[in-house]
């Protein structure tokens, strides 16, 4: 699964609880705003379409999606499920607030997913950082894109 070997040690390592197992590594896409599935995401492109959302027009396809949690319609899982079929799903997901929408959505999207972290991913991951999610071990490794 690992697409790139990073020689240096990660800048940040933290742990969470497994929602869905598996390992993925890629570039982070971070939002502090909750995400709506039905009516908020175009599954064919993996793009956020909600008016006034900070990610409006941005696609999470192939990214490590870092977000607070799910909101909106009960169609959340169905829309994220469709992103898997359309090839536009995120590579992995990290979210803080557990809901039935986010849990079921992660399960059917079948990408490594963690929650219940020992530190807030929204505080230590920025869009563009390299992130490795190990859903089985419950670890997140972060290589900062720029030193802070």
């Amino acid at each position: 699964m690992s697409s790139e070997v990073i020689e240096r040690e990660p800048d940040i390592v933290f742990i969470g609880r497994r929602v869905v197992g598996g390992i993925a590594e890629g570039e982070a896409l971070v939002t502090r705003e909750t995400i709506s599935g039905w009516g908020g995401v175009n599954a064919m492109t993996g793009t956020v379409i909600e008016n006034r959302h900070e990610l409006k027009g941005v696609s999470f396809a192939g990214k490590i999606l870092v977000f607070p949690g799910a909101k909106g319609s009960s169609g959340w899982s169905g829309v994220f499920h469709m992103t898997r079929l359309a090839g536009t799903a995120p590579l992995a997901m990290l979210f803080n607030v557990m809901t039935t929408k986010a849990a079921l959505g992660a399960v059917v999207t079948r990408v490594p997913t963690l929650t219940d972290f020992d530190r807030d991913p929204l505080d230590c991951i920025e869009t563009g950082d390299r992130v490795r999610v190990d859903g089985d071990a419950g670890t997140v490794k972060v290589w900062k894109a720029r030193s802070s």
């Binding site: 497994r18 009516g39 008016n51 959340w76 079929l85 849990a103 079921l104």
Partner: protein, 429 residues
Amino acid sequence: MVRLTDAEQAMCDGAQGPAVAKAMDLLIRYAEALGAESFVETNNVAGVPGSSTPWLKQYYADQGGDYRAVFSHFDLDSDETVDVPRMNAFSCHLQGGMDPELWREQGMTEAAHDNFVADEKDVAAHGIQVLKTCTPYIAGNVPVMGEHCAWMESSAVVFCNSVIGGRTNCEGRESTSAAMLAKRIPDWGFHRDEFRRGQHSAQVQVQVDDVFEWGMLGYWTGGTVDDTIPVLEGQIGAPSLIRHKHFGAAAASSGGVEMYHMVGITPEAPSAEAAFGGARRGERFVYDAAARKRTWESLNSVGSSRDVDFIMLGCPHYSIEQIAEAAHLIEGRKVHANTQLWVFTSRAVKATADACGHTRVLQEAGAYLMTDTCSAISQAVPKGTRVAGFDSAKQTHYLPAIMGIEGWYGTLSECIDAACTSRWEGRLS
């Protein structure tokens, strides 16, 4: 790890066939994702089992591209195609994609209608009740207090939890389809007493009396408490099914409220102490005249032109009482040539409206009484619609955003007047 009873283990081992085993497999993955430790039994499931777009059928073409393929791979998230038996739980189909008769007026194609007819035949053949509504609780599925349900549809979920005292999380398509077969759902969230307690206090300091006011209070509540559980107290007038229906739908769409308490009104809130499960906690919010005005302005911020070409009623689906009132208000009048009036309800309620003559009154006025769906779900509005008016805060929240049109929120009476004059004269009194 989720604990399984002997009966649940037997289902996993295939005692009830491969589809039930696949359903259990999905439900176990879902329960573990949630962190649930066991399942509750449910015999009341409402979802959208197996209904699909032609795209989804095409995607599974190599698996047969039929209902069986879609139900196996999408609904049950299975990697194998399995035979799908009759559902085991009492199962209902929620709203669908078009009116069974007025689909041409809704702009649907012949091919889309053929797909709709084929899906519905399969739904019925699998023992799923074709309620085709977002309001199952007024179309033949009324839970009782304490009953464990597995429902989709946010407005129905909030009604079930808050008004009835039934117990359901906001489920998704895959979990409801699996629950229809396995009669199980994770014991998590609203199935558990401790999760149902109020988290914030909302003081209502302005009189809230009719459907219009309850809708605005709901819209404010969701925007204020997000997806937490509010406890409302104060100047809330006499409750009714319709008022709760519009309050809950609004709160669920502006914020994601899945349960609310109203002290002295809803069944799990005989007192504030009961609603909070102890002392008041969380924040204290106030709904006063200023908050009411801000809510009205926010709902009406996407409207600038008062030349209305579409009035949409029936979100959530109208009850017979609401259809009777709409018919009474429009009797002897005509929908304006520049405007269309669509009223949405369930098939069960429409049968009563037909018997009462309300359908005929609406038709004679030039309006349509439609079933199964709504403008937001099916993205169906009259051709050329630019400005719409609603008596539903939920539809005002969704439809203008989905369709890129302007929208107004007002009373039923303002909506009927606008339909007959083509002018929106809604005002905050």
